[in-house]
Amino acid sequence: MASRATRKKPPATTGVLSLPPVTESTTSSGLKVLAAERGPLPLVTMRLVVRAGSASDPSGKHGLADFTARLLRRGTERMSADELDEAIEFVGASFSVGINEDLVSFFVTTPAEHFPAMIGVLGQMLREPSFPEREVVQARERVLAQFANDLDDPSTVADRTFTRALWGNHPYGHDVGGTAAHVGSFTREDVVRFHSERIGPKVSLLVVVGAVSPRLVAEEAEKAFGGWTSGPEAPLVVPPMPKLASGRVLLVDKPDQTQSQVRMGGPGFFIGHVDYFPSTATNIALGGGFTSRLMNEVRVERGLTYGIHSYFDTMSAGGMFGITTFTQTERTREIIDVTLGEVAKVREGGIPAAELKKSQRYLAGLYPLRTETNESVAAVISDIRVHGLGDDWVEKFRERLLAVKPKQTVEVAGRYLFPKSPFLVVLGKASAVKKQLKGLGPVTVVPASECE
């Protein structure tokens, strides 16, 4: 041990970082399977991603992808909802569903000894869901009640309103869960059709990481998914980025609020875009970490908020640059002005060398954390494949990040940091807030109850 202590190690931010070896196979039904064996814990994680996210919701049926995915667990040709719950939960496994604009994902973690049984259950749910009528009706009622209760959560209402107004009629312009009006119209036929037309092996990828051999993964995947026949040959093509809303304010009135939720946004870029690294480094300095300019000016110097952050949201067909924060009702205008002022400074001058270096080292130092768990390894393997990031993505990430020059931050800041006035959503007590918003563009007031 003493000898290891004195051996010179490469710096942690640049030393070799790589993923465990990945073994690829394909089931007879055409499902791609990637397996990576990894210890020491006796656990296995599975991540099945399907290119049928909320952007593939049919028109008039927003939320159908999410709704359908969650119903897979409520019955198959061979097992009832109760039997599925028991099979998964008795052994200490977990099953969950995630959805974004591009993908619907199924996550399973299981004690390693139950991997064959659990991949079998996952296969059943994807291959032969029965969608019992009673379950469809009940799920619809639960979702509608949840939508009603969500109106009481200011942050959720602000986020949903923001997405909708910013993207307009583009397939990215609705919340992944849909709206009450649409969900209220869902029938069993809608769900059956969505599953048979959109969810299938040719548009899916299964990643398995953990204490299991790639050989066993390939064998069990064939047993579980070999007979899977639903779904299309290719995913729907999402239309290119639309012109995003800009230069106006949507004021959501919730009279009981003592605090305003604030969202700002403008155009960004798609996943895998060449601007990713310079934009990421720029954003860390502007509003990423705890010592970002926005945190310093808005929180530390002025005590205006508890939290503020800026972000690039990237999807397969486009993306946005946005800022999220909140403050007490009386200081709503001040937080907007201070924030936009800081954005303008970076837009005009980029990030100077020393500050850029700090951001790069921050992110490079923490990057290895993204390969620390079975779940995070499965996530990055899946992202690399689905979005074509290249097999050296993890290995080269820090090198590419550290190569960003100040000049590039000037370029991307000019391109994305609100060169045109951003679109704003403010949720709060309109009678006290509206008069503070003069000069930020036309203001439209809507009651929170209409923002379901």
């Binding site: 009981d256 921050y362 490079a364």
Partner: protein, 440 residues
């Protein structure tokens, strides 16, 4: 202290898988600082946790919320690294930090590239040795915390109900007030209050360091001694008096606020973390609400469809805590009916216990969650701290799987019958007020 384990039960043994993950090296410095080292070379990162045994439990009326406000002040400058330097230096060395405050502990943590370890020890020890509190930073941080209170409590239904519930459950104990404190107290806490707090509770003798990840233990312990060794020992903190009187009957409160649906928050007074009943309650909690097929989720969400969701929080505390149920209802739900259905299920557990399969399922899930928690350096370091702080020794945490495995249905019945009683219960009902139901 109640004994739920049968007398003949063998001393619980550490779980073999956990044992292999926990090659812990321990030391105590002469100033009382305890150190736990847990090397693991899988990824070139390290997590450092500092647990201070202080929280809102150690407060008094007039300065409620000081533990939490103080936690914020720990990031505002010390002697060597002045205002704003802590996070700047840490981030520029490839690290991030955060902290949290609860009733019984205040916890600081950093994740960072392994070559920044010495720098992080320098930063952490600097603020333990010589924190500098200035008025300007205190007044800005006060505003930040007030904004945090507005977002977490004043504009959040769950937050409002939780605050109401605390004052119902506890009449005398300091668990009565919210960790974030009352708004007026946050406004009035002075610099002198903070300085006094620092001297008493932030001394090395009231702290434990947990370091997990890619480092060499011998070298690291030498570094800890170098950076922390000269910090003087502190005074012994005043013991907290648990003067809570016996509860004589059910307590109820209503909260009227604009909302779409009613909701319910119900607490039963429970045991202290160190009571053997704690682990039986862990199993009961899992059987009741863990997973779609758990008793209460199945009954209340799927079968009767009375609730949209049901959660039970059973957080261990140093002094006797509370088992808290939170039920999100539908706009037309009748909260009284939901309460009846819930109590009927709990009475069934007290009368009949769980099925053997339910009990085994709860054990399997507790073990699986235990393993998942230990997948990261941060998870392992935090688990050690959590167990040591609440159970008295981190070793007791590693023995938990065998404690759970040995628990019988007889114990489940006894413990359910003991705690889920009307006279241990407090109920807060949120009633939507008229202006909440907005016109469409």
């Amino acid at each position: 202290m109640p004994k739920a384990l049968p007398k003949k039960a063998a001393v619980p043994k550490a779980d073999p898988v956990l044992q292999s993950l926990f090659d812990v090296q321990e030391a105590t410095l002469s100033n009382g600082l305890k150190v736990r080292l847990l090397p693991n070379h899988q990824t070139p990162v390290v997590s450092l946790y500092t647990f201070f045994q202080v929280g809102s439990r150690n407060e008094r009326p007039g300065i409620t919320g000081i533990s939490h406000l103080f936690e914020h002040m720990m990031f505002n400058g010390a002697k060597k690294y002045g205002p704003k330097m802590f996070d700047r230096v840490l981030e520029s060395n490839g690290g991030r930090s955060n902290a949290y405050t609860c009733t019984d502990q205040t916890v600081y943590y950093e994740d960072f590239a392994s070559d920044a370890l010495e720098k992080v020890l320098d930063l952490e020890s600097d603020r333990m040795r010589s924190l500098r509190i200035n008025d300007a930073a205190l007044s800005a941080e006060r505003q930040v915390v007030m904004e945090e209170r507005r977002v977490r409590v004043d504009n959040d239904i769950g937050g409002m109900m939780d605050e109401e519930l605390g004052t119902l459950v506890w009449k005398a104990h300091s668990y009565r007030w919210p960790v974030i404190g009352w708004m007026k107290d946050i406004e009035n806490i002075s610099r002198q209050d903070c300085e006094q707090y620092f001297r008493t509770y932030y001394a090395p003798s009231n702290a434990v360091l947990y370091i997990a990840g890619d480092f060499e233990p011998k070298q690291t312990l030498a570094l800890v001694r170098r950076y922390y060794g000269d910090i003087p020992k502190g005074p012994r903190p005043e013991p907290v008096l648990d003067a809570e009187p016996e509860q004589k009957g059910e307590r109820r409160a209503e909260l009227r606020h604009p909302a779409q649906s009613p909701s319910l928050m119900i607490a039963w007074r429970g045991p202290a973390a160190r009571s053997p009943d704690t682990f039986v309650l862990d199993l009961i909690q899992y059987a009741l609400i863990k997973g779609e097929g758990s008793r209460l989720v199945k009954k209340l969400v799927y079968e009767t469809q009375l609730a949209i969701s049901v959660m039970i929080d059973w957080s261990w505390r140093v002094d006797p805590g509370a088992i808290i149920a939170y039920l999100e209802l539908k706009p037309d739900s009748d909260p009284r009916k939901v309460e009846e259905a819930l109590y009927a299920e709990l009475e069934r557990v007290a009368r009949e216990g769980l099925t053997e399969r339910e009990l085994q399922k709860a054990k399997n899930n507790l073990r699986a969650d235990h393993l998942r928690e230990l997948a990261t350096n941060s998870g392992r370091a935090h688990a050690l701290g959590h167990y040591e702080s609440l159970l008295g020794s981190w070793r007791d945490g590693l023995a938990l799987p065998s404690v759970y495995a040995a628990t019988t249905n007889e114990q489940v019945k006894q413990v359910a019958a003991k705690y889920f009683l009307p006279e241990r219960r407090s109920v807060v009902t949120l009633i939507p007020s008229a202006e909440g139901k907005e016109m469409h």
